[in-house]
Amino acid sequence: MTSYDLLVIGGGVNGTGIARDAAMRGLTTMLVEKKDFAAGSSGANSGMIHGGIRYLMNDPQVTKLACLDSGYIQRIAPHLLFRIPFLYPVSPKKPGEPSLADRALLYGAECYFEAYDKYQPLKNGKPHTRLTDEELHELEPGIVSGTLGAVTMDEYGIDPFRLCALNARSAAAHGATIRNHTVVTRLLREGAAVVGAEIEDARTGAREEVRARAVLNAGGPWAPKIAALAGVAVRIRPGKGVHLTLDRRLSNYGIICKAVDGRDVFVMPHEDSSIIGTTDDDFYGDPDELTVTQDEVEYLLQAVEHTFPSVRSARVLRAWAGVRPTLFAYGPLEDALSRDHHIYDHEEDGAPGFYSIVGGKLASFRAMAQEAVDLIAHKAGNSQPCRTHEVPLPGGEAAAPSAETLGREHTVPSYAAARISYRHGAEAERILSLAEERPELRAFACSCEGVTFAELLFSLREEFASSLTDLRRRCRLGMGVCQGARCGGPAAALLAGELGLSHEKALAEANAFLDERWKGHRPVLAGDGLAQAELFQCTYYATCALPRDGAPERPWR
């Protein structure tokens, strides 16, 4: 039986970050994830490495940690981060009649943002500025007129899927065993102690036992379920967060809007689209069965429309949801819950060798991982220092090549080269060199997101991707305006060729990918989106005659 110093359960940003840190310190480490990296909460967030200005009042330590770590993430993965300056416009409650209370709100906001300025140098952010109504409309003419002005702040966006995949790759490069699509079926016990787990390959059903000196539960919203396997309780207060993706960059700046209930809702540019988010509602369901309701969609659109009316002319490409694994507290409203994190050593609960990590935010994953690994390494007598804030993630070692050079040298359109350069940084050359041997690999599998076959092949070979939905997370396959209406067939063909899949299995992979795309499109089917859906349906189920359940193999016999 294989034996490890540490078995990490969960391939979100915490699990992958912990596996990386542990492996870099020389702990023999295994990571298991039942679906794929960032398939849960770590992929269903705003894609922001933000400093947490919201928490400044009640949890300043959360803000400080997030800002500090935001700076570190810029250092280790500079290619993945993009600056998003945010605007916080203040409108009078009664249009055209600014009251003292309205002015006080703007003044208060400025004071608050000024306090946040103290942390901005930690993440190379610029201090806030105050804009007049005129200056605000020079930047964003689409904002409603007659504001009292706005305050600005600096934040950063990130591709959270790639962040997790790169953590996993880095862990593997430092010797960790990485197993996505692998489920923990039970924990191994010796007396009270947790000494490993039985794991099952979700694809083949093959089971094996692995031993570990420490087992760490980084399951996010699934953490209570995993803890139950050890007979201990981990309480979280799960909060459902819904986001919308638009078909365009509605604005160049992030804009903080007020929802009908007074909550802040953001609209922010992200790659070629804009993201609107988020809701925050107590969630009592199964995190595997998340659906978005019409009410949630309308609430978010209404919130943005209040400040940026032309949002109604944009097409909502999809709606998606995640669950925040927030620390448990009885009493506060969802938004008032602390975003702090907690690491449990379940020795106290009678399960020595078992640990859980819950809470926290995307921006501070690295520091949380460091804290968890400090605890475990210390117990194992390992005193190696944490280096995850200094050693670059794959692709972050050097500056990313320019899109022009990359496009010229490898004969790919520069918009594709730009996307490869963003997603892969210094590794961009490695990817396009695949197209030197096989010229066809420079063609697009997904033209909406500029995804070449070469990039898909690289992810299949180097990034633990083994399905089209994995490739969607690695390379944004099918995440653009057509939502997978064109790429399903070509990408399935590449997958089948590389993995040696049967035709039947290849089409099943295509169907699974299309189901996943449809899931996000379905709650927002209206307007031009219905035309896109009709084209999607007719392409796959009429023109391509993809088999549906129970369809015969040879239709004419």
Binding site: T293, Q294, E298, R312, T411, V412, A435, P439, E440, L441, R442, A443, F444, A445, F453, G489, P490, A492, A493, L494, A496, G497, H503, E504, A506, L507, A510, N511, L514, D515, R517, W518, P523, V524, L525, A526, G527, G529, L530, A531, E534, L535, Q537, C538, T539, Y540, Y541, A542, T543, C544, A545, L546, P547, R548, P552, E553, R554, P555, W556, R557
Partner: protein, 436 residues
Amino acid sequence: MALTADVVVVGGGMAGVCASLAAREKGAKVLLVARASGATALSSGAIDFGGAVADATVGEGARAVSRQPGHPYALLGDALPALLERTMAFLRRHLVSLGLEGARVAADKCLWLPTPVGTARPAALVQSSIAGADLRNLSSRPARLAVIAFAGAQQVEAGLVASGLSRLLAPLGEAVAAPIDLYRTREDALRSIAELARDLDRPGRRDLFAASLLRAANAVRATHVLVPTLGFADPAVARAEVERTVERPVFEALGAPPSVPGLRLQAALAAALRAAGVRTVDGIAERSGDGGVQIVRGVECQPVRAGAIVLASGRFIGGGIRCEPGSGLLHETVLDLPAFAAGRRNIAALPSEELFAVKASGAHPGMAAGIRVDAAFRPLDAATTVPVFACGSLLGGFDPARDSGGLGTCALTGLCAGERAAEAASRAGASAVAGR
């Protein structure tokens, strides 16, 4: 100045063109208004009437789907088989350049054609350059089918297509991917099939292509050759020329949108309109204040004086049916008639698994939205001064993605609506004369 016609047809896809041609054959003066290319141009070009399962004939398939609630065939009763045959003959007659092949009578079976992912899809009629690829026929002999790959995405896809077709041709036959030595540059890898088709239309290219195909077919010892495209122009001529060099049967594959056969079908429809003397106008038709229609082009607005109106404006792709975000109400866009899916007007009130299944491949009655019509194809809710008829995807009740009808259904209902509109216009004209 007002445009005048006996029949004005809104929509330039399969349904609208068939309605125009049918009205023209009845002697009507026809004006066709089209906003832009729609679902027909984006189709695979394969013409089917629905219900093509197992070994069913075209007539049996159509009868089977006619029992589905709200299917337009249900309005036709016993006239359906005869209408199927009339429609097939009508299409062959008007789209001569495509050399349509396949079923001739309702008792004929469908063709089963290779798709871009190596499955088989049914068609009652298809362009002659494609028809020979009928997999049922090919599978009855020891065929070795070369799946020709160009340099780009098709090179990746050819493997999947070949493995799928091998399953369908087994046990007697098989398919094998075969790259050609034309179009091998890095730049070629970035070109779409439609772009390569345009290139094949250039002087001299077809000969080079045929010679390259011969080498590829010989290399894999193929008995039959499946190519991504033969070019846009004259597919029948191109196929004959290429076959002479390749010395084996050569067929074109169906493509995903925008496909060459789909674009070619749209071009052939436009040519048929010209040949029949149907006047076409690019513009948006909308309801006018006097209960008729007017045509909007940019800032210009022109009233239309017609004896009858045919709506053939399509479903969501064509823009004939919309559901505005916010209201969630389905409506028809020219006359603002109410539209329905599975009996409901509001389709946005999710979660509703009745209208859109959770799985992409599931049942989506919402995708078969349309307006309600009477047995004469006249919309139930139209309050116009001239008689209105509807046809094509606007009717709802059928969905190409669920095997319940496609281009053939649009052609058939277009034919019915066009003839009835011509008759109505002629009656209106006669009574106008009598009234004078």
